[in-house]
């Protein structure tokens, strides 16, 4: 009988605490996989290094500049995609969190 009484409390705890934490953990793992897949940390770490590990005399400066240009483009594209992903994730988390309030708000809307 006690479980029936505690069911609404269990729902509230699940909906506003456990589930959002679970979703955020899942998304953080997804973000890590995304970053690894799109090599963003690697591009940032090797931003000033010469392209293709070029260390022959006279070519180092050119390789560095070329690498910076190419990596800048890739970093920019990666960042746009990453921001889009984070945006979608934020919308999902927020929608999930606000769903009970949203349902009441919909009900109270004047037709």
């Amino acid at each position: 009988m006690a479980a029936y009484l505690f069911l609404p409390l269990a729902f509230i705890k699940f909906w506003f605490l456990e589930a959002p934490i679970g979703i955020i953990n899942y998304f953080s793992s997804l973000n890590k996989a995304f970053l690894q897949l799109f090599s963003l940390p690697l591009f940032v770490r090797t931003f000033f290094k010469p392209l293709k590990n070029e260390y022959r005399e006279g070519l180092v400066g050119f390789s560095r500049v070329m690498g910076m240009i190419i990596k800048s483009v890739f970093i920019f594209i990666d960042l746009i995609l990453f921001l889009f992903l984070v945006g979608v994730e934020s919308v999902i988390v927020l929608t999930f969190f606000l769903l009970p309030f949203l349902s009441v708000w919909i009900l109270l809307l004047s037709s």
Partner: protein
């Protein structure tokens, strides 16, 4: 408390409640369609649909995935059920006898795999003389031997097979030694580690 949640879950999954849930969903969808068709904003139907969805999510991701309160090392004879996993408790809650309990267990995929690998069909599970407490105590000992944490449905079935072996000679007839069954149990447990 987790036992009571298992009972609620059994009720929630019963044929009657399933039918009611389906009818509610159908009614809400019809209401939603009629509101939209009449050019009205579907306030009530959307509200009901959202709550239907939330309750389904709650049962699927919270109630059905409850974890045991205690490990096998901390339970005693009186608190055995605290170390049982949710599928075991659900089988307990939906069974009227030990025989029924074993047949409920035999419906689970992981138990079916254990029985299949041992070459035993669910019909061959004989009526046991032991009660559920003896079964549980033996299962706890098995889990301790396996260095496991909780008593799973597979442990319960293996416990039953080993405990009744003297009377039934079921394992003997299948040319399986108890050590081999334990190895099988160890393998199935690692295969279904999520339980």
């Amino acid at each position: 408390m987790i036992e009571q949640y298992a009972r609620i879950y059994v009720l929630y999954r019963s044929a009657l409640i399933r039918t009611v849930r389906l009818l509610v969903l159908f009614f809400v969808l019809v209401l939603l369609y009629s509101d939209v068709a009449a050019g009205l904003f579907p306030r009530v139907s959307l509200f009901l649909l959202l709550w239907f969805f939330m309750i389904e999510v709650f049962f699927h991701f919270k109630i059905s995935r409850m974890h045991p309160r205690a490990s096998v090392t901390t339970v005693n004879k009186d608190t055995l059920k605290d170390a049982y996993t949710f599928p075991v408790l659900v089988a307990f809650a939906s069974a009227h006898s030990v025989k029924d309990f074993l047949h409920q267990l035999a419906k689970l995929q992981q138990v079916r795999l254990l029985l299949e690998k041992a070459g035993i069909s669910a019909d061959e599970l004989s009526v046991p003389t032991e009660n559920d407490e003896q079964l549980g105590l033996y299962a706890v000992e098995l889990v301790k031997r396996m260095k496991g944490t909780y008593v799973t449905s597979m442990d319960m079935m293996a416990s039953h097979l080993l405990q009744t072996e003297e009377k039934t000679k079921l394992l003997f007839s299948k040319k399986i030694k108890s050590e081999e069954l334990l190895q099988l149990l160890f393998w199935v447990r690692s295969h279904y580690a999520e339980e």
